[in-house]
């Protein structure tokens, strides 16, 4: 009989296992990986929306996610609400934050670089925002890890025929799918959404139709940030909160949107799931940090082979 | 001697055929005009010839060499230069700097490039502005800069894409003189233009295209009285049948 390596879950101790049990572990990992991956996709969704419309990679995205997590944390701590209920507060706060961030900090650059095909300066500025947000949070709230204790979701698992599935991740998965569909519907079928898409395709033509392009940009940034807020809410029940928590999601977010295609909504979710799967199954065969290396390698591979990603639109390079 | 020969050139973008079996040739020392209604495919043809994208079908022969898949910078080194319809000056730099960039195509030495650039500016009567920032120039001067830059690469064939657009009549006349002067220095010129009196005055021969196809060619006079050309520009009801 083979002894299985101890599972990271506290309640499954070393025990003897055969091939069947190993298969089960792989399936379990895969399922949890897909769930976690969908949450990754959700975190990347805002990034892809912003890129799709503003044609700009928002390097501050991870920090916005971090801000969302802190907002959720404080909301829950102060009001005792269920994390998902705090969405009522988180979404509008994050929307406004993103809206005004774009309006005050990024719009001047857009205006100055109106004729430049791709405003590189915006990337620089969003990187500056990242640094400011992360370190301001560090200054104000300190470096300690925070998490929500005694909440209804933390650490809960459901068992389906011997496979343990994380409940908060399941909620996250559901939220990710709902949000993705909601955003998709918004852009396809609502007037505002179509106005935004029109601006992304040809801003001059759109402005001739009476659309104020800068307002559109502000709104899009607000939406992207609000989506980041939703992602933050799904993470808070089980993920630790600290000032630089966004950095990892930032980098993973870039990888996911490149994988899935910048600007593509299904691409973000599917790209996220791919990354989630690699992360969960990888450690079965190699160390966790080599797994990280694989993700980077995959990213570079996609970049070199098919930069438009799985679902991306081919932009004029 | 034919400096440029385009045979059966086709350019398709997905389902759209922008250029359809275009045939034309230019003799050395000639000024050939290319006209046609908007969207006829003129700039696309230029882009194919200038190496921006290879044609879907057909052959482009420059100076005896097939150049279908050559990149723009190699073509420039072979003696084929072009200007852009929407001018692209290096706005933050001076006129002299701009022209020097072109001059470097034939030399590696900075001061030689400067000399060459100054000489080009002189022939185009542009010396006075040599230290002006390109971004501060008037549109007429920007067009002149565009030509100066291209000429500094010492081309054998110069493709001019609507250099008169946006110019006042006096400026148009000046531009015509400049282009005629260029031909006198030995450069063959291939011009796309919309301003009729300019192209009529300049060209030795004219090719007319419409919907990507050549519909007429000949001397300016022949083309002006060609009924297909008139139909294309003014619509069927004006066609003299």
């Amino acid at each position: 009989m083979i002894v299985c390596p101890g599972r990271p879950l506290p309640f499954r101790a070393d025990h003897f296992c055969g091939l069947e049990t190993q298969m089960m572990y792989v399936i379990e990992d895969a399922i949890n990986g897909i769930l976690m991956g969908s949450i990754y996709g959700l975190t990347a969704l805002g990034l892809t929306i912003i890129f799709g419309v503003l044609k700009v990679v928002n390097f501050a995205h991870g920090s916005l996610l971090m801000v969302g997590m802190y907002v959720t944390f404080w909301t829950v701590s102060l009001t005792g609400l269920h994390p998902y209920v705090s969405l009522i507060f988180v979404i509008p706060i994050m929307y406004l934050f993103g809206y005004y961030l774009q309006d005050i900090v990024i719009k001047p650059i857009f205006k100055a670089e109106k004729n430049v095909r791709e405003p590189l300066t915006v990337i620089i500025v969003t990187t500056g925002v990242w640094y400011i947000l992360d370190n301001l949070t560090l200054l104000l709230f300190g470096p300690q890890y925070r998490s929500i204790q005694d909440n209804l979701l933390k650490g809960k698992m459901i068992e389906i025929s011997d496979i343990f599935i994380s409940v908060p991740k399941l909620w996250g998965f559901a939220t990710a799918i709902v949000t993705a569909f909601g955003v998709f519907y918004f852009f396809q079928y609502t007037r505002m959404g179509r106005a935004i898409r029109a601006t992304s395709l040809d801003r001059d033509a759109a402005s001739l139709s009476g659309i104020n392009q800068y307002k559109i940009y502000n709104m899009t940034f607000g939406i992207g940030t609000a989506v980041a807020g939703i992602a933050a809410v799904t993470l808070v029940p089980f993920y630790n909160i600290f000032p630089t928590v966004g950095v990892l999601f930032d980098i993973k977010g870039f990888i996911i949107v490149v994988l899935g295609g910048l600007g593509s909504i299904p691409g973000a979710i599917i790209g996220g799931i791919i990354v989630g799967l690699i992360e969960s199954i990888g450690p079965q065969f190699m160390t966790a940090t080599w797994t990280e290396g694989i993700v980077y390698g995959l990213f570079l591979l996609v970049l070199f082979v098919k930069p438009s990603g799985l679902f991306g639109v081919k932009y004029d390079w | 001697m034919k400096i440029l020969e385009v045979t059966d050139m086709v350019m398709k973008f997905g389902g759209l055929t922008a250029v359809d079996k275009l045939n034309l040739s230019i003799d050395q020392g000639e000024i050939l005009g290319l006209i046609g209604p908007n969207g006829a495919g003129k700039s696309t043809a230029f882009n194919c010839i200038a190496g921006v994208h290879p044609p879907t079908q057909g052959r482009i022969v420059f100076n005896g060499q097939t150049i279908n898949h050559q990149k723009p910078w190699n073509l420039c080194k072979k003696g084929l230069a072009r200007t852009f319809q929407i001018v692209k000056p290096f706005a933050a730099k001076s006129v002299l700097y701009n022209v020097m960039v072109g001059a470097f195509a034939t030399t590696d030495n900075t001061s030689k490039a400067e000399d060459k650039a100054l000489a080009v500016l002189k022939t185009l009567n542009f010396e006075g502005r040599k230290d002006t920032k390109a971004g501060n120039l008037t549109i007429a001067d920007r067009k002149r800069l565009e030509i100066a830059r291209a000429v500094a690469t010492e081309p054998k064939l110069l493709l001019l894409d609507e250099v008169m657009a946006g110019l006042r009549p006096a400026e148009v006349d000046e531009m015509v003189q400049i282009i005629q002067h260029l031909r006198q220095t030995g450069i063959t010129v291939f011009v796309i233009e919309h301003i009729m009196r300019a192209i009529m005055a300049l060209s030795d021969r004219i090719v007319v295209i419409h919907f990507g196809k050549k519909i007429a060619q000949g001397t300016p006079r022949e083309v002006a009285s060609n009924k297909n050309v008139i139909k294309a520009y003014l619509g069927d009801e004006y066609g003299i049948s």
């Binding site: 791709e118 990337i123 370190n135 560090l138 980077y296 | 910078w73 692209k88 960039v101 030495n109």
Partner: protein, 369 residues
């Protein structure tokens, strides 16, 4: 002015032959020559000050800070070759510092090869890596290049943090490599005092500035500038834009790697989190951008101004307000990008020019009297 008589017209003609036409610029020829001389004098004074500094400043802590300041000035100037001249945004340049540092350190620790040789080898390896990164990404939008550099840098760091041995080479993962300070001397790139390091980094800085200056006046400089500003026009003028950028990238990678070796020999301890960190890469980019990328003086000015700010804020506020210097960087960066995208060197150069101008007027007046 007796004894220095030359005919004004003769001089003008001679200079005009060299294309030195000043018609229409509104500045008299004499004044221009005077200003040129003043600039040269200014540079000479700066050089004297720089070389004489260790005679005045004796405190090792201060010297250490100044050395690091020059170190960053060197890094930002090297970065500028790609980030400024080539018009792209590399955000992972620390990877080259790491390659340089690890190459020379491993070679000297395990095989006793002089760090100077290791330095060159590290530079050569960096050229390969730099070109490898640039080859596919220079054809894409700037954002992709930036992301690729980040991915490379982070991927490299992750790899180094997890390998203990790469074949026979000891890398030691996150624990890093320590260089025992034995065998001092120039050939071993090891000194007891700080002064030799000071002079080495100063010479390196001057060298890299000279290289930058030469390039900006050379065909490559013109081509990089053109390709960065209007790539389509540049290509039509005979410029292979990608190749020019790759060349710039190769040089930048090489030079940055040299600094890696310097750092290793200076601090005697290298580990991934310190030299291959994203923070370092970003700091280099930020400083260069704030100083003014694309100019020669910009990156240096940025380093000379920002490093002290960052050091001082770390010393005085490090405990109470951690990360303050990074907030300052971020805010300054955003303000500069909005109000002065060409960097602070733009205003500083204007001020300098005005001062020199006034001074030249004064001197000329006194001279004529």
């Amino acid at each position: 002015m007796t004894g220095k008589e030359y005919s004004e017209s003769g001089r003008t003609m001679a200079l005009a032959d060299k294309g030195f036409s000043h018609a229409g610029t509104g500045i008299s020829l004499e004044k221009k020559i005077l200003k040129d001389t003043m600039n040269k004098v200014f540079l000479a004074l700066v050089a004297v000050l720089a070389f004489g500094l260790p005679l005045i400043v004796k405190s090792p802590t201060w010297l250490h800070m100044i050395i690091l300041m020059y170190f960053y000035a060197y890094l930002t100037t090297s970065w500028n070759m790609v980030g400024g001249f080539a018009g792209v945004l590399p955000l992972g340049h620390a990877v080259f510092i790491g390659i340089g540092a690890y190459t020379s350190t491993i070679l000297s620790l395990q095989y006793g090869i002089s760090p100077w040789i290791g330095m060159i080898l590290g530079g050569i390896i960096s050229i390969f890596v730099g070109v490898l990164i640039g080859l596919p990404t220079f054809k894409m939008r700037g954002a992709y290049f930036a992301l690729a550099t980040i991915a490379f840098a982070e991927g490299f760091r992750v790899m180094v943090e997890n390998i203990d041995y790469l074949g026979p080479l000891k890398i030691n993962g996150p624990r890093g490599l320590q260089i025992p300070p034995l065998n001092t001397g120039l050939s071993n790139f090891m000194f007891t005092g700080k002064e030799p390091y000071y002079y080495i980094i100063l010479i390196m800085l001057i060298a890299v500035l000279a290289v930058t200056w030469f390039i900006s006046r050379s065909k490559l400089g013109y081509y990089l500038n053109a390709g960065g500003e209007e790539p389509e026009a540049a290509m039509a003028l005979g410029i292979n834009v990608s190749r020019a950028k790759l060349f710039a990238m190769a040089m930048s990678s090489f030079l940055t790697a040299l600094a890696g070796t310097f750092y290793a020999q200076f601090s005697l301890f290298i580990h991934p989190k310190s030299i291959i960190s994203l923070d370092t890469s970003f700091e280099i980019a930020f400083i260069a951008l704030i100083g003014g990328r694309g100019s020669i003086a910009g990156p240096v000015l940025g380093a000379l101004l920002l490093r002290p700010v960052s050091d001082l804020s770390r010393i005085y506020f490090g405990d109470t307000l951690p990360g303050l210097h990074l907030i300052i960087y971020g805010v300054v960066l955003i303000l500069v990008m909005i109000y002065q995208p060409r960097g602070i060197q733009e205003s500083l150069t204007k001020i300098y020019d005005t001062v020199v101008d006034r001074l030249a007027d004064r001197l000329k007046k006194d001279g004529d009297a």
